[in-house]
Symmetry: C2
Subunit: 345 residues, 2 copies
DNA sequence: ATGAAAGCGCTAACAG
DNA sequence: CTGTTAGCGCTTTCAT
């Protein structure tokens, strides 16, 4: 069943069918109705491949993430898909799983399917791999780390704003021993968070020597807390570079019989969905995933709209905000300590 | 840059380029090498749309889920993608978000892109919507609920096996007041779990009147525990129809100062990744998401392999197993109760 | 306003 | 073994 069959049955030319389906305004309403009737009757769906071939536009956007199983991404994918559906786009989702071969393959897949644009949401991607996309002038959008070239949009994250709120929240609760667990510092995003923490602390004149490196995983958070305690003694509050780290801290605290938040306040970063489900629910700095997805999609749509004009790289901005939940409390006074030791199992 | 340009530069015909690229064994190694050199040099990637158009195979598999943000799915999507990559397939991911319009759109999108097969992993989908796919003989694979028609594969889940293990584990820990929180009972999968629970309990002769309906969400788990306690008094163990429910129970228990597992044992179902990250880590019945994805993909691959032959609907089987973590313990004796009341905040 | 026909990039007969 | 050529299903001039 193809356009010709519709044409035959509606007794018009294929051109008219095409026009009717694409709602070209100049077609006679009579004919159009006739066409649509047949279309509905037969349950005809135009072949997108053929369309793409002739039009040169696939109506597919690529979306490159590091791993779908990273809780940061599902929300993004969902929003991206919702927007895609609204705009008659499809999304080609690829994950690099931190594997250079897969990164290369991601790019290849994008090009083979002739995507109209790519959002690169993996925090850290070999520049060289993107050559092919650049060369073909495929519109690109990056988070945090994009180069300033035409057809490349960047979403800049304002880490400081949310982290400052977090630090001041802790200070207001009379915390002074505030620790920070970083992410892997080779990531720009992790470095930026640490820097924001340092700045926020210095702004309010609290000394900051309680810093440990984590790796943005739960296990990393667990061992970071262990190390923190071993090296510096227990802090009264910990700010983490991401939520998974904070979840690790929660978990390790549970193991050590440290009560959250009465004995230790914990703040995460990202506000992944999961942060609402921890015990206790995690206070965290929100970097809205839906907003991020929305910006990325918007950036791509803008680019495809103005493909021809050579315009400057556009900049988008995403701010961060503290979300208060229940993992923070007033700093414990000495007398609070060890009041009711807890014995699990 | 297209196949003709490669042909021109390699001084061969387009047919030869095509053959070389597709590694047809009969091409002269000399020519093949010449072609590949040009291909590499120019960074040429064949246009999949054109390929699909002529071959009639898109090398795309559809994957319909209910919501990507449901923690049950990311693992599945990841595995599915890994397999797709290995087999030079692409995956068209759509979510129904429980919206009939989106379900319909899902099907339409699948057909428009001419997918070679569809895995339907949403537990519950209007049969009528699939007419279009059936009509076009698109290979389908269902979980739990598929009809027995040609080109339709089914993955049957053995719920009983894991649930029986869970019940017996609890019984072995001397629990007798064992409650069950169901999922939404209109879902076959939820009903099957409840039935398996009932059977497992009756097998070992423990009376079972502690049953409440939940809805497979955390909130549902929280209110189910509340209701359970209000109506029947506190049970010593709870088996939940899925992990999110169990997480809700954990959360509500925390609010009520009930210790897990010393005062209350909790078991989930699914073994979503998140189950490892709860405090305490959740003992749960595993229904391997990677295995499920693998079976679904395999089923689709099998179907496309034998498109022509008209063969019977194939059946696949996935078993479930108890994973011991730390949310279960010996049933509390009366003297254990309320020993060390916990006062958070 | 409608139709005839060219052609998007590729593969697969069919010849040679 | 290689080249020529006819389409795959659709959109889009160009005539009418």
């Amino acid at each position: 069943m193809d356009i010709r069959e519709i044409a035959r049955r509606a007794k018009v030319s294929t051109a008219t069918v095409s026009r009717a389906i694409n709602r070209v305004p100049t077609v006679d309403p009579q004919l159009s109705k006739r066409v649509w009737r047949v279309v509905e009757e037969l349950g005809y769906f135009p072949n997108t491949q053929a369309r793409a071939l002739v039009s040169g536009r696939s109506r597919i956007f690529g979306l490159i993430v590091s791993e779908i199983t990273n809780p940061f991404f599902p929300e993004i994918v969902q929003t991206f898909e919702n927007l895609a559906v609204e705009n008659n786009y499809e999304i080609l989702l690829t994950s690099t799983v931190h594997d250079p071969r897969r990164m290369e393959l991601s790019v290849r897949r994008m090009i083979e399917r002739r995507v109209d644009g790519v959002a690169i949401l993996t925090f850290g991607m070999e520049e060289s791999l993107l050559q092919h996309l650049r060369f073909r002038q495929v519109p690109l959008v990056f988070v945090d780390v994009g180069p300033d070239t035409p057809h490349v949009a960047n979403i800049r994250i304002d880490y400081l704003s949310g982290i400052r709120q977090a630090v001041q929240h802790l200070a207001a609760l009379r915390h002074t021993r505030i620790a920070f667990i970083t992410g892997p510092l080779r990531l720009k995003s992790a470095l930026a968070r640490k820097t924001a923490f340092l700045q926020s602390m210095s702004e309010i004149g609290i000394p900051t020597n309680l810093i440990t490196e984590g790796d943005h995983t739960m296990e990393g958070g667990m061992s970071a807390l262990t190390k923190l305690i071993a090296v510096h003694g227990r802090p009264t509050a910990i700010l983490c570079s991401n939520d998974m780290t904070a979840i690790g801290v929660l978990r390790e605290a549970f193991e050590r019989d440290i009560r959250i938040p009465s004995e230790l306040s914990v703040i995460g970063f990202d506000d992944i969905r999961l942060a609402q489900f921890t015990t206790p629910p995690l206070t965290t700095v929100q970097m809205s995933q839906t907003e991020l997805a929305r910006l990325a999609f918007q950036a791509l749509m803008n680019e495809v709209g103005q493909m021809s004009e050579d315009h400057q790289a556009s900049e988008y901005r995403l701010t961060t905000n503290l979300i208060l939940r229940r993992s923070t409390a007033l700093a414990p006074t000495t007398s609070d300590r060890k009041k009711a030791p807890r014995k699990p199992v």
